[in-house]
Symmetry: C2
Subunit: 200 residues, 2 copies
Amino acid sequence: MQQRSEETRTRILEAANRLFSQAGYENTSVAEICQEAGVSKGALYHHFPTKQAVFLALLDAWLAGLDAGFLIARQQTQDVPSAILQMADLVGNVYQTAEVKPAILLEFWIHALRDPVIWQAARAPYQRYLSYFAELIGEGTRQGSLQPVDEPLAARVLTSLAVGLLMQSLFGAQDVNWQHESRQSIQLLMDGLLPRRETQ
Amino acid sequence: MQQRSEETRTRILEAANRLFSQAGYENTSVAEICQEAGVSKGALYHHFPTKQAVFLALLDAWLAGLDAGFLIARQQTQDVPSAILQMADLVGNVYQTAEVKPAILLEFWIHALRDPVIWQAARAPYQRYLSYFAELIGEGTRQGSLQPVDEPLAARVLTSLAVGLLMQSLFGAQDVNWQHESRQSIQLLMDGLLPRRETQ
DNA sequence: GGCAAAATACCGACCGGTCGGTATGATTAT
DNA sequence: ATAATCATACCGACCGGTCGGTATTTTGCC
């Protein structure tokens, strides 16, 4: 029967997600994951060849979820600014759902820098997101709902904002509602800081 | 004589900076730091009570450097937008100087989340920066060089941008000049994305 | 200055404990 | 039966930190 097997695998991933988020990859032992999952070490190494493979599976799942979210956000909106704001909400939602602990994103990032395998797994989607955002912004410009800008640059700025907000939400005060913060931040980016005259 | 002592301490910190940046805190053993520094284990534990204390000393030094940079940036400029752009250059400079490896910033961040000692050491400066930025923006508004905005929000947006750019520079393409990218990003934030009409 | 005593700086072998991964056998489903 | 799934005992490597002892510098005294 493959249902029991599937369930075991899921329990392992959920446990690993919790523990990696809380204590980090290095500080989480395989034994702890097994205990948290209520599963033996043999079971874990039956489903995953290495500890890293568990981590990689989590990364893949997270990226798949992000993909799905972006797709939905685009479909639910008409003009580009709305779509971007919708995606900002998506990022904002990460802070509330207990499902995906934001801290594990830091783990993904830091390991991508050091492990070529993780790097490859994370870089391709990252590039895809950047291209997607640039394309989206170009679409907005053509619509007239955004002013003409350097599209790849704007895409990186958007990404920076999202990443930076996530980092700050991890580290920042509880008295800030990061759910709304992300939307407001994007709004501020769109409006701009400088007074409304020709500046360039 | 305290010169030899001082030199040993410095060598340990430099070695730790290199190794923590390359391999991360957990993946760098005390023995490796000693080897890289050309110093015995006894020497290290003579200067620092624990491995964590070495890390903390690095964090303090990094924050002190940032403080100094901000101070200089403010003194060298007249109006607020220029000061902000100058500070963006400061962040941009981090990518070029081999002195401080940007990757160690990630280490700082991730450990601040898990270690209360690190958390306290990093949080106070972080709050200070946010307040400083908010004050700076308020000053710009009073000058008329910035439009009136929610100042703490704008400060967090600025910080997000800086943090996000740093993260992307770690992870991103080499074909992007992150030195200029930070300045351009801030410029884009100031100009705004939306077409120039009244939007709120 | 010269010299012994005290303090500081440093060395490197060693220890208790942890970790990722393995080997082997038991259990379960088909 | 037999192949997939899981449990348990175990291994070798490694790690942070300690400790007894040594080298070097500073201090106190003449």
